[in-house]
């Protein structure tokens, strides 16, 4: 942790995430359940004991089947979820692209959207003003800034989102499948821009199902299964093993569920991790 003290990077230690699943979502049902002493809640452990260290200039890829905890892990790192056990330390400007277009408003002009989205990505007003022309230019939308977003095609929208993100000057970057924007030409262009960004000494975590991309850009790959780490290491080795396993059906998803609410699973798990 001390080595990271002054530099850019991610330090995550023994992350666990428990979701309390409660079928009662309204005040009425909650009161009725409480009065009758019903407890239908259970725990779902979506991430179990993941540790991660990413320094500046490194790209770490994360692969795994659907529901293996990839996005949950990214959200834990980004601080969107609080870890149930473990801790995360981030040094540097964090930009998370988990859902690229989430802040975009259909009934606003591209100009206003750039300002809002830029603000959501932690940019100051001056930064946005300075980057404004460049954002439009990269998205190949120069001259369109007075169009409203709903008047643009999906590809144009995606290009704009990506371009704003690219200009947000990230130091720690979390990406969740964001290279699918636009046509072939734009995908190539955005990958090149992203590779250049990575070379400028930032820390990147990339979640993707695209093995070719991960082989190309990653220094290290983590393979998650059922919320735990299945394999970690050299991209080629891990991805080969992962692809082989993808020919078989996934494992039983119920292992994630803990039917005894308020159990001491977290503590148990922690002891096991520490003694291992």
């Amino acid at each position: 942790m001390n080595a990271l003290a002054s530099t850019i990077g991610i330090h995550a230690e023994d992350l666990h995430k428990r979701f309390r699943i409660d079928p009662h979502g309204t005040l009425f049902t909650k009161i009725v359940a409480w009065a009758n002493g019903w407890d239908h809640s259970f725990d779902l452990w979506a991430v179990r004991g993941i540790s991660l260290d990413v320094r500046a200039g490194q790209v770490v890829g994360i692969v795994g089947r659907n529901g293996s905890g990839k996005s949950t892990l990214l959200r834990l790192i980004a601080g969107i979820y609080r870890p149930s056990v473990g801790q995360v330390e981030i040094k540097g400007r964090l930009v998370s692209l988990i859902d690229l277009g989430s802040g975009m408003q259909q009934r606003m002009t591209l100009r206003d959207n750039i300002y809002v989205q830029g603000t959501l990505l932690n940019m100051t007003r001056e930064m946005i003003e300075e980057a404004f022309d460049s954002i439009l230019e990269f998205a190949e939308l120069t001259g369109y800034e007075h169009l409203q977003l709903f008047q643009c095609s999906n590809g144009m929208r995606a290009r704009l989102c990506f371009s704003i993100a690219l200009h947000s000057a990230p130091q720690v970057l979390l990406l969740d499948e964001v290279f699918s924007a636009g046509d072939g030409w734009f995908v190539k262009k955005s990958q090149e821009a992203m590779e250049q960004l990575i070379k400028s000494n930032i820390a990147v975590v990339q979640v993707s199902h695209n093995s070719d991309l991960l082989r190309k850009i990653c220094d290290r790959v983590l393979w998650l299964e059922q919320g735990s780490l299945r394999m970690e290491g050299d991209p080629i080795q891990v991805l080969d093993a992962y692809e082989k396993s993808c020919n078989q059906p996934g494992a039983d998803p119920t292992v994630l569920i803990d039917r005894k609410p308020h159990s001491s699973y977290a503590l148990e798990r922690r002891e096991r991790v520490l003694t291992a």
Binding site: G25, S96, D99, R107, M108, T109
Partner: protein, 260 residues
């Protein structure tokens, strides 16, 4: 979330910028980017004003001086509370996808939501003040108005903080809250006046909306100094509201993303 340990000038500036941008976005979206959209905000209050005025002007309004303005001002102040609290209630759920994908200050979402309604409220108050000027009703007590508006803002913000997070856990809260609002509307002397001795006057001492409306009326319409007792009670309500609301928000908001 503001981290008190690392509070610095640049962070406060960033937070302010964030709130301003979000408020702007709310206003643009509401008004479709045109200043005329403001008319739609006024239309609700104007319509209820016309109906209530036609129904009650002879029965309840007979003894009240300046009844049309009395009624309209009451409706405007109520509408700020009504719209503000209702928008806050839904704001966390409606910006769910943002909350789930970006690590951002969640307090700013509520603050800017109330602020956008507050801006609209201020503009409609300016319209009312111009009507008053037309009828030669200017008084120096109008300068108390900013303080009163600040207290109103704090009160609505506190209520909004609590509602916005509770709604995520209790999805029937919107039904419950709108029922409560309807009862509250009739309990507050908006289209009628309180009698000195009735049970309503005692009950309304504990009604912050009563104090807001009564203070606005005495300042704006009746050229009276604001009643000190009312001011103190309203200040207390605002402080308690913002404190309790924010404590609830701080406690529950870190876990919001899991329920959206």
């Amino acid at each position: 979330m503001i981290d008190m340990k690392h509070l610095s000038f640049s962070m406060v500036r960033r937070q302010m910028n964030f709130i301003i941008q979000l408020t702007r976005a709310h206003l643009i979206l509401r008004n479709e980017g045109s200043y005329l959209g403001f008319l739609w905000y006024m239309l609700g209050p104007i319509l209820s004003f016309i109906i209530l005025f036609l129904v009650f002007q002879h029965r309840l309004g007979g003894d009240i001086s300046l009844y049309p303005l009395y009624l309209f001002l009451g409706i405007l102040v109520w509408d700020f509370f009504n719209t503000g609290s209702m928008m806050c209630l839904r704001c966390m759920v409606s910006s769910g996808s943002i909350i789930k994908s970006l690590p951002l200050s969640r307090d700013a979402i509520v603050i800017s939501q109330v602020f956008s309604v507050f801006v609209m409220h201020c503009v409609s108050l300016v319209v009312l003040l111009m009507i008053c000027l037309f009828f030669n009703l200017f008084s120096p007590f109008w300068f108390f108005l900013p303080i009163l508006l600040f207290l109103e803002y704090l009160f609505v913000l506190g209520v909004g903080f609590a509602l916005s997070v509770f709604y995520v856990y209790f999805r029937d809260l919107d039904q419950i809250w709108s029922l409560l609002l309807r009862v509250w509307w009739f309990a507050t002397p908006i289209f009628y006046a309180l009698t000195e001795t009735g049970p309503g006057s005692k009950l309304n001492m504990f009604n912050p909306m009563y104090h807001m409306i009564a203070l606005s009326r005495s300042i704006i319409l009746y050229q009276q100094a604001p009643e000190v007792k009312s001011f103190v009670i309203l200040s207390l309500f605002s402080c308690v509201s913002i404190m309790i609301g924010y404590v609830i928000f701080r406690k529950l908001s870190p876990h919001l993303a899991e329920y959206l």
